[in-house]
């Protein structure tokens, strides 16, 4: 679902990742899915959270973009205790490779319009 973000400027965190496994229905995948869902629920409760968008393909490559009011909001979310546990699990088990980019959204585009 497309996030209903406010007028720019605001911040975006682009998290690109390759899952180590993506066998549907196995215990590891169920654990991952539950944690990913919990992290989205938890992020929504954080001060300065503006929205999130996420897609993962059949090969396990995924992009999650979360939107935030300011750097303080991003720093607080990164330091959140339950999120810190998820980050460690992600680094050690769930992701074969990942990249995180912090961006300032400057404008919205208008595809195909002059």
């Amino acid at each position: 679902v497309i996030a209903a973000t406010p007028e720019p400027p605001y911040l975006a965190v682009i998290f690109s990742s390759q899952r180590t496994r993506c066998a549907e229905g196995n215990a590891d995948e169920r654990g991952y899915a539950a944690m990913a869902e919990r992290m989205v629920e938890l992020a929504r409760l954080q001060p300065g959270f503006l929205g999130v968008e996420s897609a993962r393909d059949a090969e396990g490559f995924g992009i999650t973009v979360s939107y935030w009011r300011d750097e303080a909001a991003i720093a607080a979310w990164k330091a959140h205790a339950e999120h810190a546990v998820a980050q460690r699990l992600g680094r050690e088990a769930w992701y074969g490779e990942f990249q995180l980019r912090v961006c300032r959204v400057e404008r919205e585009g208008r595809m195909g319009r002059p």
Copy 2:
């Protein structure tokens, strides 16, 4: 696949979209897939192109992030004749909903590390 981008700063275009249909194997879907692949090939040839990442889930929600050296590179790609045709088809047929955000990547993050 995670894009091998240079050190920030550079620009990112986050394109979030919901496909109108995603029935695998039908003619519309094959046409879309061919055009999407062609656009990535063509983008790679543009001056100032730095990389692209893309994921679309089973429900047809997708995120494509393309990375660019500067605004001039983004403007030239938006105006590219073949890309303009694809944008029009996207707006009129392929996407039920979409959003395009232009961002400045300020830093890379380090998930789960202090």
